[in-house]
Symmetry: C2
Subunit: 423 residues, 2 copies
């Protein structure tokens, strides 16, 4: 354990150094059974994921089942206050991901006259594969007036672009942007909520929550050991996602390389978040045949149209007996495929959400899309431009929130999130 | 399996009649370990809970970990449309709780030209102890103008009162009321969401969603086999809750008895729902000592103040060396205790919620309180009047949504939800 971790009080008394998982983040996780009728294989999903390493955890870590994502705006004006917060957050994140209470006094053992240093709702719960991942938005480097807020304007990466307007965008500013993003993922929602809530508590006076989003079912696999889950359209999603086993491809598509720069981003990745509202009531009245033509896959099997198995390669030239393409030219699977995007891919780890109803008798439901990549200018932006222009799925979805964040490389013991950005 | 169930397509092909749990609903469930440091005991939480029985499932069923609650307003004007919907809903609920697709064609096997009869996002997922529980609100019997909407005005139970205004109530009408409430609980949130979403889909043209609420962590135990979870104040909650093992007490406090009437409610129970916003940012800056004085229990142990163990009886007469009460007169545990409420108790099965942020940099978080009882006039109403008047906890909470519903007795095979109300 690091020096930060050893300060914390174990939530259950059994998470010592021996409990730490390897740096690649391949801890146990739950694998939902496929439609074929296999029994579900529940592996251990209670253990910790190592916080330190060459990359931040929570990117290639096999996608956990629950999300609490929040962005924060910095309300402090001093560079020193931001640095102090990042140090305190890093120490707290190391403790929480190890399944420990924050701080010297913990949730319940402090002196009675002071507030507890941990809010306590995770007492008794295991680490539950908690990962906490940080990213910095464009507004962290320069404010709307172009001012160098914290002396880091010159360090803004060229790849951290302001996202362009995409056709059909219907963005709510209150669900978009943010100076700092924090993604907390866990197999236990209470553990993920506890993480964001305590970071918000620690940040009081320095940052304020801009928006917060819970997600309840992962919509992508990030490891070949995971089965492909279903999104709220009822389709398997993310079959062709980048996965942690694709080590060569991850260097090409996911991790910022030394030649890309800036230095502080090497080993990091760019996150694009999109809150995508699904008009599921309309989708649910669409025929099965049309649903499959729009997606380009079978609903039951997840296989590309014309194929039998989910993982069969898509044949974009195959034609039906009447001469039309089996996988339509405006289908989602085709427009999003690397073959039609100059080879660009994304590592997606989005979540389903249902946030009550919308006042019109419909569920406020959809996909909270999260995608990591080496360079959004070559990956998310052109892919989304093509999808926004031509994807038939656009009749059933609406992008209502958006964010882009530079997520630095991993944290080594003794350093803090973004240290290289400030030194 | 019932005739309804046998129509459905198994989501995994392995949930036959042998898979059905007993009527009391004591299927497997996850038990979180207590703070003492025991390892978590994960029992099987994937199986089905029997839908039919003398009482509706989802009341004394050991509380599942996830909630999707929704209320619906009836938009149809004909009694026959309501009866037809209740029949269709009952059949769908029997199938979904058994882990089956709805309808003859299921999610993915239908003829391509028709919409699937199931939305499909639960394909491949187990039943996950899904329960679906229905209740009818005052407005189902009589509209705001006093009209007998569906010919059932005379059958409105006297106990189904319009809740009075409680001191401090700050209710949002868009999160209150509703003609029909449906509570879906499961250990898998996607399964709970699938249930509400498909009932909404089936109800299109007859009902519209009024509001919907997801909850992510049970805040009460309803069985002695479950450990007591923690709420977002970090405290164990519901230690003294009514539990399914308290069979005699359940007849006195939970289930409507033949002498209570009306006939159609015998074996049923009344549900009060309250969306209780917690101002956790303020709570988190309160000292541990004050937190414990407000609740009346230790934060770590959950034990009543002055005692060592969570399940020790509260001693309301114990005094400290300076002569003040160990458990303060305005503490939550005292004001809510049966001893100070003419013996009245509730079966609580509420859930934590975090619904993003509130636009002021704070999490929109709290407790979605759900309590079942034999007669709200003798139970929830007087208890809440006392709490609203004197509970010190009121400085940190705000009731922002409210509902009351008459939940009929259990469904027998071949009948439908509320059949006795319409015959």
């Amino acid at each position: 354990m690091t020096s930060e971790s050893s300060k914390g009080i174990s939530r259950r008394g059994l998470f010592g150094a021996a409990g730490a998982a390897v740096a690649t983040g391949v801890a146990g996780y739950v694998v939902h059974s496929a439609v074929s009728g296999e029994e579900s294989q529940a592996a251990d999903n209670t253990g910790p994921v190592e916080f330190h390493g060459p990359h931040q955890a929570g990117i290639v870590t096999p996608a956990q089942d629950r999300l609490h994502f929040a962005t924060f705006d910095v309300t402090a004006t001093k560079r020193e206050a931001v640095i102090a917060l990042l140090k305190e957050w890093t120490a707290a994140a190391a403790l929480m991901t190890a399944g420990r209470d924050i701080g010297q006094y913990g949730a319940v053992n402090g002196p009675g006259e002071a507030p507890p240093e941990d809010t306590g709702e995770a007492v008794g719960l295991p680490p539950a594969r908690l990962t906490i991942t940080i990213g910095f938005g464009p507004s962290f480097f320069v404010d709307a007036q172009g001012n160098d807020r914290f002396g880091i304007k010159a360090k803004r990466p060229a790849a951290l672009v302001d996202l362009p307007h995409f056709i059909g965008d219907d963005l709510d500013p209150n669900r978009s942007g943010g100076d700092i993003a924090v993604q907390a993922c866990s197999d236990d929602p209470q553990v993920a909520v506890h993480a964001i809530r305590n970071l918000a508590r620690i940040g009081f006076g320095t940052v304020a929550v801009r928006y917060s989003q819970l997600g309840f079912g992962r919509t992508s696999s990030t490891s070949r050991a995971q089965s492909t889950p279903r999104n709220l359209f009822g389709f398997k999603d993310g079959t062709a996602n980048l996965k942690l086993e694709d080590t060569d491809k991850l260097e090409q598509q996911l991790w910022v390389q030394p030649e890309d720069g800036p230095d502080w981003m090497v080993g990091g990745s760019y996150l694009v978040s999109r809150r995508i509202r699904m008009t599921i009531e309309i989708w649910d009245r669409t025929s099965l045949g049309e649903q499959e033509q729009i997606i380009g896959r079978g609903k039951g099997t997840g296989a590309p149209l014309g194929k039998a198995d989910e993982f069969d390669a898509v044949d974009f030239n195959a034609k039906t007996s009447d001469g039309s393409l089996k996988v339509p030219a405006d289908s989602h699977v085709r427009l999003a495929h690397p073959q039609f995007n100059k080879g660009a891919e994304l590592l997606r780890r989005g979540y389903n959400f249902v946030d009550g109803s919308d006042g019109l008798g419909r569920l406020d439901a959809g996909l909270f899309f999260l995608a990591y990549q080496r360079d959004p200018r070559k990956q998310f932006v052109p892919i989304q431009q093509q999808l926004a222009r031509a994807d038939k799925l656009n009749e059933y979805i609406r992008h209502v929130g958006s964010g882009i964040f530079a997520c630095p490389g991993g944290v080594t013991p003794g350093s803090y999130w973004g240290e290289k950005l400030f030194t």
